[in-house]
Symmetry: C2
Subunit: 450 residues, 2 copies
């Protein structure tokens, strides 16, 4: 058979987050062949993931199948798989079960949690990066109230009705605000023996202020708004111990069984397999054009890239930065293909937003520092605008905007991981099940197993 | 402290399905104290669960927190827990960690799958009764296509692109139809190396016809509609063997890795702890008034009850039957409380419906046998009517009806059970991950583990 086509350059893109997906779109009408590899089958709108964790939205509201987004872009192959290793000298990436060679590579593998050396904290205090984590956090929050209601007849255990968020960045602030509204408003009339409005909610920050990446003005406003919602904020309180039913932060001992981790992120461990310099957050120190030293065909974008602006400030780990970097890397690859030299990346700062609840937010836009309602309106429209770009589901947007405004937390579901049904056991095996930590022994004696 | 209140009778209701929830509502303004116990925190609209399994709807669309449904009914306590044993002589039910005594008991614990003695088939062919199962089936169906796309370069493995539904009752017919539309229409343009429209879909039934509980006319119509959608239907083909990558049905060997079980249900194992006669499906043979012999204060309703109508036919395992029985049992309890005698239950048959896809359905309503579009319109309005009864979420209904009609399967997500992050391992541990069954060895040698 005659090969009529000239071989097209093969671009491999790792990660279908904001960086990777926007890079793919730049190639839409270009004579390249693209392989986009992601660990999941969906693009996740991470800025709203905290709402899944707090029952405001459901996973399908903020996640769209990658194939569906790119179904009309014929030059891209989408592959579900986890890249375990990049072999820069051989120009290939390795999955568990296969290797893929590339001519150009964009690494947009993002960031993951770090527990600062206390890896055993991970099972006690899950972080919030994936749908599975959001659903697990939702399960833990809701189960705490179910357990409290169940045990209320006996005594009120402080550890059950205390929810703790560790880390006062944007995610921590947003989760704490959403949890406060969930307990103070949405669930207010749902229980008979406990009053969810009296739930103790703590936000713990190691540093001197909330939202350290935003202005002092916004930090102060966020703190005030959270306190008005009844959230206790502990500043200057690094967590030094974390166990099943308590933690120690800034010398205080806090009884709790429900802890959410939003204290630290590091670059994906994939970065370690690149022969490139990493900063002290495990992020790849990229060249001015977003490529890495020694390998001009490899670009790193998004949360995994460490890029210092001419002002000396690092580019923040935000969706707009990832989008800009992804597009820039793709354009630089097109320049290389066409025999041109690459051009340096310039970050255009569109501002930083954080929401603290319905109708409250803070915004830093250039020298403009906004708080409360107007900032929230900006927040709302920005997010709707970005979501539409990916999904074009106007009816759903109306629906969730409406649900969001009316406090109808329609996704308040406790779901369990599937397990094959085992004859002779209850449908729900006991360890997953919210037992009463009061350890009340039934008069039947030992726990029952069929 | 003076006890001003006369002690109210305590009614315990096990299960918040159609039967249990409708029983609770009868007591709304009555001087009783109710404890409603369910294994999950949500009422599930089971008739649409197959749509979650096939990506058409998302769990929150068909599940509502029980507490939310009953938040204004002050005489009910909702308890998240699994009843493991009923002790009729001591008038109490036992959970894992506590015992609850009752004056009156309604058992609405429903039905579960049966593998007819082949319990080891459960992990190969999950059934469809809970959200966890629906999400798992969705994951398996979608992962099959991801794996097929990944392996297509090498060879096309028949077992990967063959989906099998076992059991030709309403659930089986509905799943097979929905899977056919998912592959033939929704996913048609999403892949590059495989053509999802060529997916082999089989529906296997042990008996001589589909929908054995409906009329011959409806069986014939369902069969024709499914064949038009490209589903291969095997009748008179009991499954005799089921393994990881094949099954044997009616003597045929079929290569497949994706099997869904809808072949048999039996009463919840809880029934065995009641001192009452069971039929050969493990369901409780109830008296005319829905109570059980020897215990006039215990009523059994819904899928767990075996009730023979005066015509000799059993009451079918359908939502309208459970609703009617739940209400009737509650009214009989009120009669007992007021010193009256109970009255016998009479089932009012509203007809039977099954859908085979968008704009196709069959309906038996009395002597009326409908098929295709008109039956489907009845199906649609019936389901919307029942959903509204529980949820009053009109905007959501419009949204999903619209999505349903336009083939926009917006919930096509592969999600994994949450696991604590383990340092030194990939985020996704390998056994859960869709490896390439082609067993292609990478040139890096053995599989990589960080």
């Amino acid at each position: 058979m005659l090969n009529k086509e000239v071989k097209r350059p093969h671009v491999v893109i790792i990660g279908a987050g904001f960086g990777g997906l926007n890079a793919v779109k730049v190639f839409k009408r270009e004579p390249v062949s693209i392989t986009l590899i992601d660990k999941t089958n969906h693009h996740l709108f991470q800025p709203l993931l905290y709402q899944v964790a707090t029952s405001g939205l459901t996973p399908a509201d903020i996640a769209t199948p990658i194939r569906f987004v790119l179904r009309h872009q014929q030059n891209v192959n989408v592959l579900l798989g986890e890249v375990l290793q990049i072999n820069a000298s051989r120009k290939c990436v390795a999955l568990f079960d296969q290797e893929i060679t590339y001519d150009y590579l964009i690494v947009a593998a993002g960031a993951t949690h770090t527990y600062f050396g206390n890896d055993h904290w991970a099972s006690i205090a899950p972080g919030l990066k994936t749908i599975a984590e959001a659903v697990e956090i939702r399960r833990r929050i809701l189960t705490a109230f179910e357990t409290a209601e169940k045990c209320a007849g006996d005594h009120n255990r402080e550890d059950i009705t205390t929810l703790v968020v560790i880390g006062g960045g944007a995610t921590g602030v947003e989760i704490a605000g959403a949890v406060a509204e969930l307990t103070r408003i949405s669930m207010a009339s749902d229980f008979r023996k406990i009053d969810p409005r009296k739930t103790r909610i703590l936000l713990i920050e190691a540093g001197p202020r909330l939202l350290p990446n935003m202005s002092e003005h916004s930090s102060k406003n966020a703190l005030e708004s959270l306190r008005k919602l009844g959230v206790e904020v502990l500043l200057n309180s690094p967590v030094t111990d974390l166990a099943d039913h308590y933690l120690i932060a800034g010398g205080h001992r806090i009884s709790t069984r429900t802890v959410i981790w939003s204290a630290g992120v590091v670059g994906s461990p994939l970065a370690k397999t690149l022969e490139a310099p990493l900063d002290n957050h495990g992020k790849v120190q990229v060249n001015e054009d977003l490529s890495i030293p020694a390998y001009p065909e490899i670009f790193v974008v998004g949360d995994l890239a460490s890029f210092r602006q001419s002002s000396g400030d690092p580019v923040p780990g935000l969706a707009p930065a990832a989008i800009q970097e992804g597009r820039h890397a793709a354009r630089n690859i097109l320049r290389l293909i066409n025999g041109k030299s690459t051009i340096p990346f310039r970050y255009f700062d569109k501002g930083t937003l954080a929401t603290i609840g319905r109708s409250k937010a803070v915004a830093d836009i250039g020298s403009l520092k906004l708080s409360n309602f107007f900032a929230w309106v900006i927040w709302l429209f920005t997010h709707i605008f970005f979501l539409i770009g990916f999904r074009n589901r106007f009816i759903v947007l109306i629906q969730w905007a409406w649900a969001y405004i009316t406090y109808h937390t329609y996704s308040r579901l406790i779901t369990y991981p599937w397990k094959p049904w085992v004859p002779g056991l209850p449908d729900r095996q006991v360890p997953d099940y919210p037992g009463c930590p009061c350890e009340r022994i039934t008069s039947l004696g030992k726990p029952l197993r069929r």
